[in-house]
């Protein structure tokens, strides 16, 4: 006990620091949320381009992309090994890795971090799968709430048709086939997206989402997004010291 007292007291401090989510950080965190087909990826891409071309410190991260966890998730999905609980946990692990290695350090370093989907995606999907909502909220409780969460709201039918008109090959989990909603993948997808949509609508007020009408033209939406962004964030604090951002993407990541 005597031996460990120094370590223990230093760990006490660490605990407190880690859990203090309200402490002000120099960076800013912006999340976009919405159904598949809501247009949120396009909007966050345009926001990112605007900031990068303007020479600001910006970092972009997307859901389910941790290199540490990716292989496991891929195999688990392919072999259909996941239950609602392990699906929730593996995605939380993925998020934790990105949060601890990228999101949090970059916020401390004064970056604008743009997140294509954040914890609310997990709340919506896991909630729609019947996982206990308090349990999942606790699992993600190490993560700070975003400074702004843009929620791209579109009528369910519109989001569905935007996705389904391309006749995609629907995946087992993203179409909710694991839940046995329907034998038909397209029908299952409709049901599952409907449940996810209900979850989003319930969360919008509780988590202070800023709702953007995703049925408007993309440039109109983007004008609105930038206006709100500028109202809440003082851009001049995020200027890169050496001028231009050299890591300009030649192409957008995904449609």
């Amino acid at each position: 006990m005597r031996v460990c007292s120094v370590l223990e007291s230093s760990l006490e401090t660490k605990k407190r620091n880690k859990l203090d989510l309200s402490a002000k950080l120099p960076g800013r965190l912006i999340a976009v949320e919405g159904l598949d087909g809501s247009g949120k990826s396009t909007q966050v891409y345009l926001l990112r381009r605007w900031l990068e071309l303007g020479g600001y410190k910006v970092f972009f991260t997307e859901w389910n992309s941790s290199s540490l966890v990716k292989n496991t998730t891929k195999r688990a999905k392919k072999e259909q090994l996941l239950t609602p609980t392990t699906y929730a946990l593996i995605h939380c692990t993925d998020f934790a890795d990105r949060y601890e290695r990228q999101i949090y350090p970059l916020l401390k370093a004064g970056y604008i971090v743009l997140a294509d989907r954040y914890v609310y995606t997990a709340f919506a999907r896991d909630g729609a799968r019947g996982v206990d909502r308090d349990w999942i909220a606790n699992a993600y409780s190490f993560a700070r709430p975003p400074d702004i969460t843009f929620f791209f709201k579109v009528p369910l039918e519109k989001a569905l048709s935007r996705v389904l008109e391309r006749k995609p090959k629907l995946k087992h989990y993203s179409s909710g086939m694991d839940m046995g909603f329907s034998e038909d993948p397209y029908q299952s997808f409709r049901i599952f997206q409907g449940k996810i949509n209900d979850e989003y609508v319930k969360m919008a007020e509780r988590f202070n989402f800023i709702t953007i009408d995703g049925s408007l033209a993309p440039d109109i939406q983007q004008r609105e997004v930038r206006k709100i962004f500028l109202r809440m964030i003082s851009l001049k604090d995020f200027k890169l010291k050496n001028g231009l951002n050299l890591h300009l993407p030649a192409n957008r990541g995904k449609p």
Partner: protein, 237 residues
């Protein structure tokens, strides 16, 4: 027969009243004699006619058991991530091995359970409520035996077996010392204290792991006989 309980929020779609088997957990550090005890118990239980499962432990899930070794090889994994990786590994075993075995009326002998994972996370700075909340999905064991073994004995047994102390079991990721032996002893003391604290909440049966394996086994068996249907064990022992 006492009904099974979840520690917290539990799992969706599980009817606890169907789980008629027994969940017996052996906790203890590497070198505390866990696997020896499990193997002795396994024989003892099967001799007495109990169907027994012993495929449960850390890093043993089909889902990510092997991936965890890869993850721990690199030094880039941080606290919450590693804790959640282990929680996923545990949940997979809970849903696919432990619960089906309990439903079939088996005795499940678990080579460690959530407690080592909680202790490791807590000493590395995780919020105790956070980690406890995550393991609210777990089922309360019928009995938890903690093989409390002195760090010096653990070190000696580890040296005998593999010739070197493990990086993680020596707490090299959190302790400042470069001296592996001192780190090992210090880390094991911290873990032991944390586990004993958890043991008060979670009702551990503490067994002296410094004793020879057969004495430890006799002590465990005496306690187990009470928990299992006594008549069935007595006729065969």
């Amino acid at each position: 027969m006492s009904a099974k309980k979840f520690f917290g929020s539990g799992l969706p779609g599980v009817d606890l009243s169907e789980l008629t088997g027994k969940l017996i957990v052996i906790e203890g550090a590497d070198g505390s004699g866990r696997s020896t005890q499990i193997s002795i118990l396994h024989d003892w239980l099967e001799k007495a006619g109990y169907a027994t499962t012993m495929e449960v432990g850390l890093k043993r899930s089909e889902l990510i058991g092997k991936d965890l070794d890869e993850v721990k090889k690199g030094n880039s994994v941080s606290l919450s991530t590693l804790s959640l990786f282990y929680a996923t590994d545990f949940a997979d075993q809970l849903e696919n091995k432990i619960i089906p075995s309990l439903r079939a009326g088996f005795v499940v002998l678990a080579d460690r359970y959530i407690f080592t994972l909680m202790a490791r996370a807590i000493v590395r700075g995780a919020g105790p409520d956070w980690i406890r909340g995550i393991y609210g999905m777990a089922i309360e064991p019928d009995l938890v035996f903690y093989l409390k073994t002195s760090p010096e004995v653990l070190a000696e047994r580890t040296f005998q077996k593999s010739g070197a102390l493990d990086y993680w079991e020596s707490g090299m990721d959190i302790l400042p010392s470069q001296d592996v032996y001192s780190s090992f002893v210090r880390y094991q003391k911290i873990i032991q204290k944390t586990l004993l604290d958890l043991g008060k909440t979670y009702n551990f049966t503490v067994i002296n792991g410094n004793l020879p394996p057969l004495s430890v086994a006799r002590e465990i068996q005496a306690k187990l006989e009470k928990a299992l249907a006594p008549a069935r064990v007595d006729t065969h022992s």
